[in-house]
C-alpha cells in the first residue's frame, strides 16, 4: 500500500468504530501475564463474538436434538437453524444454490474431500496437479497423496522474492495433462493475495477445474464464488469468528453432482438394501453421520455478525492496520518483513536479526501479545526464503493502532534482551 492509499484508508477507516466492535468479543477483556491481551494470531484462529457463543449455548440449552430425522419439535427447530445457516453461508459467498454448500470439519477436510472424491476419478497416471509455492501444507499434502497413489505428478508454480505467484510460469505449466489447479486465495505465511479470477480464467481455457483454499481470505476479502468462477472454494468457520471444527466446501453443482461420496453412513443415503444403496441428493451426499450441528449454528451466527458490518469501513480499517503495522516494522532496525507482495491481506511475517522467532514469540507473550512463530505449516515457503521460521502478526477487525504500537514497543524489548 502506498502512502497515498494509506491516507485514503485512514479517512474511511475512521468511520469504523473499533472500540464498539471490541466490546462484542468477551475474550478481549482478559489479561495475559498481567497485561491486556493483544491478540495478533488471527490467521491461526480468530476470536468469537458473544453472539456466536450465545448461538452455540442456546442450541445446547434450548433445542439440542438430531437433525433431518425427528418429527419432534426440537429436531424440527435444530434442523431449521442448521439449514438456515447453510443459506446464510450460501448468500455470504454468493453461491448460486444452497446445495452447493457442503459442511465439513474445516478447510483441510474440504480439500481432502475433493482430492479423494473428484481426484480419484479424474486424475490418473501421467496426469498433473498444479499448486503454487505459497500453499499451506493442507493444500499440498492431499494432492501429494493423490498423485502418489494414482501415479500423477505435482507441479509447483514458483513465487518471486516478494512472495507473488509468477503468472507466466503458471500459464506455462497449464496443459491438457493438468487435471486440477489448487491455489490459496491468501497466503497464510506471507499474506499475498493471489489473482484468483485471472488464474481461474487461465485454467478454464484448458478446462481445468480450480480449487481455491479460502481459509485466510474469507474473513477479510469479499468472496463471490460466481465472480471468481472457481469450481471449489474451501474455508473454515473458526477463521471468520465462528467455532472450530466446522467448515465449508463450496462446489459448483455440476461438479458435486458427478462426484462420488467421500464417506458412507447415515444421512448421506436415500435407501439402503444389501443389494444396493442409493445416495442422497446434494449436499447431503457429502454429509455422512450426525454433523457438527452446534458448529454449523455458531457458524451461521458468525456470518450474521460479519454480514451486519459496514464492509467498506471494515476493509479500510483492516487495510489501515496492516499498513500501520508494515510501516512500524520497517522502522524497527534489524527487522525484515517476509512477504512484500503488492496485494496483501491481514498477515505480516517477519524475522528479527540475530533473534530466533521462538524467542521473539516468548518475549512478546510476556507482554500479553499473541503472535505465531514457526513455519506456519508452510515449510516450502520457509525453504524458498531460506529461513527456518518467522514470527507472524496477523490481524482481524478488532485490532487497533494502539495494539500495533504495543507490538513495536515489545519488539524493541526483544532487541534489548538480546542486545
Amino acid at each position: 500500500m502506498t502512502v497515498e492509499t494509506g491516507t485514503r484508508a485512514r479517512r474511511t477507516a475512521a468511520s469504523f468504530d473499533v472500540e464498539r466492535i471490541r466490546k462484542d468479543f468477551p475474550i478481549l477483556k482478559r489479561k495475559v501475564h498481567g497485561k491486556p491481551l493483544v491478540y495478533l494470531d488471527n490467521a491461526a484462529t480468530t476470536q468469537k463474538p458473544a453472539s456466536v457463543l450465545d448461538a452455540i449455548q442456546s442450541y445446547y440449552r434450548e433445542e439440542n436434538s438430531n437433525i433431518h430425522r425427528g418429527v419432534h419439535a426440537l429436531s424440527e427447530l435444530a434442523t431449521q437453524h442448521y439449514e438456515e445457516a447453510r443459506t446464510k453461508i450460501q448468500q455470504f459467498i454468493h453461491a448460486a444454490r444452497r446445495q452447493e454448500i457442503v459442511f465439513v470439519r474445516g478447510t483441510t477436510e474440504a480439500i481432502n474431500l475433493v482430492a479423494s472424491s473428484y481426484g480419484r476419478d479424474h486424475v490418473g497416471r501421467g496426469d498433473e496437479v498444479v499448486v503454487t509455492a505459497l500453499e499451506h501444507h493442507s493444500n499440498i499434502v492431499p494432492w501429494q497423496m493423490l498423485c502418489e497413489s494414482v501415479g500423477a505428478s505435482l507441479r509447483v508454480v514458483p513465487i518471486t522474492n516478494s512472495g507473488e505467484v509468477v503468472l507466466e510460469d503458471f500459464r506455462r505449466l497449464l496443459s491438457e495433462r493438468v487435471k486440477m489447479v489448487a491455489v490459496a486465495h491468501v497466503s497464510n505465511a506471507l499474506g499475498t493475495v493471489n489473482p484468483i479470477r485471472e488464474m481461474v480464467a487461465e485454467a478454464h481455457r484448458f478446462s481445468i477445474p480450480v480449487l481455491v483454499d479460502g481459509a485466510q481470505a474469507i474473513a477479510h476479502l469479499p468472496v463471490d464464488v460466481q465472480d471468481l468462477e472457481c469450481d471449489f472454494y474451501a474455508f473454515s468457520g473458526h477463521k471468520m469468528y465462528g467455532p472450530t471444527g466446522i467448515g465449508v466446501l463450496y462446489g459448483k453443482e455440476r461438479m458435486l453432482e458427478t462426484m462420488r461420496p467421500y464417506q458412507g453412513g447415515g444421512d448421506m443415503i436415500k435407501s439402503v438394501t444389501w443389494e444396493k444403496t442409493t445416495y442422497n441428493d446434494l449436499p447431503y451426499k457429502f454429509e455422512a453421520g450426525t454433523p457438527n450441528i452446534a458448529g454449523v449454528i455458531g457458524f451461521g451466527a458468525a456470518v450474521d455478525y460479519l454480514g451486519h458490518l459496514d464492509h467498506g469501513a471494515l476493509d479500510a480499517h483492516e487495510r489501515l492496520i496492516l499498513y500501520e503495522a508494515t510501516e512500524m516494522l520497517q522502522n524497527v532496525p534489524g527487522v525484515r518483513i517476509i512477504g512484500t507482495a503488492r496485494e496483501k491481506s491481514g498477515v505480516l511475517s517477519f524475522v528479527v536479526e540475530g533473534v530466533h522467532p521462538h524467542d521473539v514469540g516468548t518475549i512478546l507473550d510476556r507482554e500479553g501479545i499473541a503472535v505465531r512463530t514457526g513455519h506456519h505449516c508452510a515449510q516450502p515457503v520457509m525453504d524458498r526464503f531460506g529461513i527456518p521460521a518467522t514470527a507472524r502478526a496477523s490481524f482481524a477487525l478488532y485490532n487497533t493502532q494502539h495494539e500495533v504500537e504495543q507490538l513495536g514497543k515489545a519488539l524493541r524489548k526483544v532487541q534489548e534482551v538480546f542486545g
Partner: protein
C-alpha cells in the same frame, strides 16, 4: 528486562552461549553422530561424539534453532566433555527434572553448575522441548553406540 520470569529464562549464561556457542563445529573423527529435529518449530541440531571406553572424549554440535535450544546444546557439550556415559545419562535426568520443574535449581546449584541457568525454563512449558532437544539427541547418540557395541 523488568519481567522476572523473562530474566530467569534468558539468563546471562544462556544469552552468552547463544551468541558465542562453544564446541560449535563438525567432528570429522567422531565415533558417532545424530541429527535431532523438532518438527514443530524447525530446530535442528547434529550432535557429534567421540566415545572411547565409555568416556565422552569429545562432543560438539552444529545446527540452528532458538536461543534456548542453541545455548542448551552449547552448555551440554561443555558439561559432558570428559564425562562417562553413565554420568551423561545421570545429568540428562537431572536436566530433564530441572526444566520440567521437578528439581529446584537454587537448591542444587553446586551440583548443577552451569546447567542451573536452565531452571527458568520450567516457567515456560512451551520451551521445555527447545531446552531438551540437544539432550535427547545426545542420548540417542550414546544409545546407538551401546547397541553397536553389543552387536559387534
Amino acid at each position: 528486562m523488568t519481567d522476572p520470569n523473562l530474566r530467569l529464562l534468558y539468563q546471562e549464561v544462556i544469552l552468552d552461549h547463544n551468541r558465542y556457542p562453544r564446541n560449535y563445529r563438525a567432528m570429522p573423527d567422531a565415533t558417532q553422530s545424530l541429527e535431532g529435529f523438532n518438527p514443530l518449530c524447525g530446530d535442528r541440531y547434529t550432535i557429534f561424539v567421540k566415545l572411547r571406553d565409555g568416556i565422552i572424549e569429545d562432543i560438539s554440535f552444529l545446527g540452528a534453532g532458538c536461543a534456548i535450544s542453541k545455548a542448551s546444546a552449547s552448555v551440554m557439550c561443555s558439561v559432558l566433555k570428559g564425562k562417562s556415559v553413565e554420568d551423561a545419562e545421570e545429568l540428562f535426568g537431572r536436566f530433564h527434572r530441572l526444566v520440567t520443574g521437578q528439581e529446584d535449581a537454587t537448591q542444587h546449584e553446586a551440583e548443577l553448575g552451569k546447567l542451573a541457568a536452565f531452571g527458568g525454563v520450567s516457567e515456560f512449558p512451551m520451551r521445555v522441548k527447545c531446552a531438551s532437544l540437544a539432550w535427547h539427541t545426545m542420548k540417542g547418540v550414546i544409545e546407538s553406540r551401546s547397541e553397536k557395541v553389543s552387536t559387534e
